[in-house]
Amino acid sequence: MKFWEENKKHVYWNPYFGGFMLGLLLIATFYITGRGLGATGGTKSVVVATVETVAPKYAERSEYYGKYYDEEANPMNNWLMFETIGMLAGAFLSGALSGRAKFRIQHPKHIEPNKRLMWAAVGGLLFGIGSQFARGCTSGAALSGSAVLSLGGFITMFAIFGTAYVLAYFFRKLWLN
């Protein structure tokens, strides 16, 4: 059993199979809801809900939160919230079944764990700001947008990957030995 689990640890799905399944899931999501998948929408709902609970006066005054304050009954926000909870459960299920679920920091050998965490924080921060500015992240804007041929989806997709390719050289020491 242990040998079997050790063996499976790094065996991921064939990427074309994974892509095909993800494509089918996108089709099913559009068929059912008329919209695509998202990953930052649910996160944003949590932020909005937190700010509204902790500082309701601020939320009402703020231009940004004010937008959502009025749309409290907006079912779309809740839909993404439930979807996000599902994502966590689904990912955990896959990881647990393959023996990958455990607490650890993944980093190249020459990178200190704390350094890796610091850069992860920088990345998360930038993605938080960027995804709000672009009205969606890699899932909501790039993937789901492109699935219905949205021009903005393609622009965001090329901007994300293009920028990362341009910067890859400068950040190579973070990832390569």
């Binding site: 996160t43 932020v47 850069w119 992860a120 903005g152 090329f158």
Partner: protein, 196 residues
């Protein structure tokens, strides 16, 4: 005919249950494809692992073709599907900021959630920082608002912008995809493998 919720064939309560299951499938597929590993994800930028490109392009292609066919057969009302609105400036600048985030953090929001779900501390830190980033954005939103709304082209499709039919666009995209898969495979064989 779909979309089911649009035509009121599914109640709101069931819609949330469905959201949970769709999310589960989304998380499962991403994790099983290796997207909970930052080192696998960034492989696409250094040429040692092209899983991101293969999964992403395949999924996009399958979804575009599938949805077009479903519209063609009358199973789905293609015209009412939500087309992500295009604001040229914010789509590009937001994407550039996210590109910075990708190469430094090694995740994007969806993949960081997957990593956090299986206990990767770097994924958890990324996700917490994502919350903070959204909060920071809300503080600077009044300053950014004019740029946020610049270059509004509405719910425009890339095919309208290029002036080609949807069929020809998908045909071209499919050919580009196959060429891309072939070339990246050659590149991967040339690059020193990275073990993680």
């Amino acid at each position: 005919m779909g979309p089911l919720t649009y035509f009121g064939e599914i109640s709101t309560e069931w819609n949330y249950v469905i959201a949970l299951f769709i999310g589960m499938a989304f998380g499962y597929i991403m994790e099983a494809s290796g997207f909970s590993s930052s080192r696998k994800l960034v492989g696409v930028f250094y040429g040692y692992d092209f899983a991101v490109l293969r999964v992403f392009v395949t999924a996009t292609l399958v979804a575009i073709i599938g949805l077009l066919y479903m519209g063609y057969f009358g199973w789905i009302d293609y015209e009412v599907l939500f087309v992500h609105p295009t604001f040229v400036f914010s789509a590009a600048i937001g994407g550039i900021i996210m590109g910075f985030g990708f190469i430094t953090g090694g995740f994007c929001p969806g993949t960081s959630l997957c990593a956090a779900a299986i206990g990767k501390i770097d994924g958890i830190v990324f996700t917490i920082a994502l919350f903070v980033g959204i909060m920071v954005y809300s503080w600077i939103y009044p300053i950014l608002e004019p740029w946020y709304n610049t270059g509004n082209l509405g719910h425009i499709k890339i095919t309208e912008w290029l002036g080609v039919s949807e069929g020809w666009f998908v045909f071209g995209f499919a050919i580009i995809a196959v060429v891309l898969f072939y070339i990246t495979n050659l590149i991967r064989k040339k690059i020193k493998p990275v073990h993680y």
